[in-house]
């Protein structure tokens, strides 16, 4: 299967320079990007299989002696290409704050407790139907230094590999109805409202497990679609 990667699809991505998110000011290229054709080097990409996994890597609540504190949740969905076809064999990696909004990283020193039963990292590979599933706890909101009283909405970081190095995606999954959305420059760096909402999971009652865990569904669409005859 040969896929193409139209650049127009990237129009919904945030601009490199988004001054409301202050760290972009010194970390965005000023020179115009040089347009190049997609060669073999762009149209191929890393391949990871089940050998990169271990049983339970997708369950963030079972990595320590005890269970983490917080609201247990299931996060699941499908990874699709631009034609909405499932993408199997995608390495999906996640990392997140604990239920108190604290990351297991020495740089995060804000006054919220670490949880000795929660590291906050997980990985899985999508199955033949492009399906992935994680079990974790809902991450808390946390303050950051971008502006006065800045707080990040609850989110889980996602990293994905698709059909090629052009489908590589690092993004964040948000939770529905978060009151912090209007104030977050990272979330709002995506200007198109529909595109922004594609980063928000939906509550999934059908797959919520009684007496055990809430479920959220989040489908992810990666770059890449089949060439139509018109484009030959």
């Amino acid at each position: 299967m040969t896929l193409i990667y139209p650049k127009e699809s990237l129009d919904v991505f945030p601009a490199h320079l988004t001054p409301a998110y202050k760290s972009t000011i010194k970390r965005s290229p000023k020179q115009p990007l040089v347009i190049i054709p997609h060669t073999l080097s762009e149209l191929t990409g890393p391949v990871y299989g089940h050998d990169a996994m271990q049983e339970g890597d997708n369950d963030l609540t079972r990595q320590h002696a005890g269970e983490p504190l917080g609201e247990r949740i299931i996060v699941h969905g499908h990874v699709l290409d631009e034609d909405k076809r499932p993408v199997p064999g995608v390495l999906v990696e996640i990392w997140q704050a604990n239920a108190c909004g604290r990351y297991v990283h020495v740089v995060d020193q804000h006054p919220a407790p670490l949880d000795p039963n929660f590291t906050g990292a997980g990985r899985t590979i999508t199955d033949d139907k492009g399906y992935y599933k994680f079990i974790t706890v809902k991450p808390g909101a946390y303050p950051w230094g971008n502006h006065y009283n800045a707080w990040r909405p609850n989110h889980i970081h996602f990293s994905l590999f698709g059909h090629s190095f052009l489908s590589r995606l690092v993004t964040q999954m948000y939770f529905p109805g978060d009151p912090l959305f209007p104030f977050d420059p990272i979330f709002n760096s995506v200007k198109d409202a529909k595109a922004r909402n594609r980063m928000v999971a939906s509550f999934d009652l059908d797959n919520t497990v009684p007496d055990w865990a809430l479920c959220f569904r989040w489908d992810i669409v990666l770059r890449g679609r089949e060439q139509t005859p018109m484009e030959h």
Binding site: S9, P14, R27, P32, H64, E82, R168, V170, R198
Partner: protein, 203 residues
């Protein structure tokens, strides 16, 4: 209209998830651990070719080292073959051609790998040996792509991608070779912005 999922920044805290054994110090205590999937040493016992080090720093618009960036590289093997799911094109080694390095306190990164061979280019031409770089960091809402070319390759003169880069900026893509203790080291600094800004590609 396409409905792809937008990119968001990797943020400052990715190291424990994506590069747990890398050069970024993240551990608040020994309680926390995670296994690495993708590291900065690409060597496999069965790979052939010249073993090289790739080293450099990632610098921001003030020339300050970015201490929370992640570099990913993607390259062919010494015979110019990319790892693939397709058994017809797949190389006969375990070499994955993909690596990940977090930056350290000074913005330094590094990889141990083999020098790739030339690979097919557009219009039945060939491309000079190169490595694709993809850079992520706090303050980058989307990844940026560039390429490393090797200073000692005559094929750079005819590379179809380098030819698209303004002459005066091509140097930013050429890694200089030096020998250190019998090992070839290619130096490749990435200036995200400002004087000597590295060429990044719109792909």
């Amino acid at each position: 209209m396409s409905e792809i999922t937008p990119s968001q920044t990797v943020g400052p805290f990715f190291a424990y998830g994506l590069t747990p054994d890398g050069r970024c110090e993240w551990r608040p205590s020994d309680v926390y651990h995670w296994k690495e999937t993708v590291g900065d040493n690409l060597m496999t016992p069965d790979v052939s070719g010249e073993r090289v080090r790739i080293e450099g720093r990632v610098l921001d618009g003030d020339g300050v080292g970015i201490n929370d960036a992640m570099i990913e590289i993607w390259q062919a093997d010494a015979q110019g073959r990319y790892a693939s799911r397709d058994p017809r094109t797949r190389p006969n080694t375990a070499f994955k051609g993909h690596g990940r390095s977090a930056t350290d306190k000074e913005g330094g990164y590094g990889f141990t790998t083999i020098k790739p061979g030339p690979v097919a280019g557009p219009n039945r031409g060939m491309q000079a040996p190169h490595i694709v770089f993809c850079i992520f960091s706090r303050g980058m809402l989307r990844q940026i792509y560039t390429r490393l070319y090797f200073a000692d390759e005559a094929a750079n003169q005819t590379d179809p991608i380098l030819a698209l880069v303004p002459k005066e900026r091509r140097d930013t893509l050429i890694a200089k070779r030096e020998m250190r203790g019998g090992e070839a080291v290619y130096r490749f600094d990435i200036r995200v912005q400002g004087k000597g800004e590295t060429v990044f590609f719109d792909v």
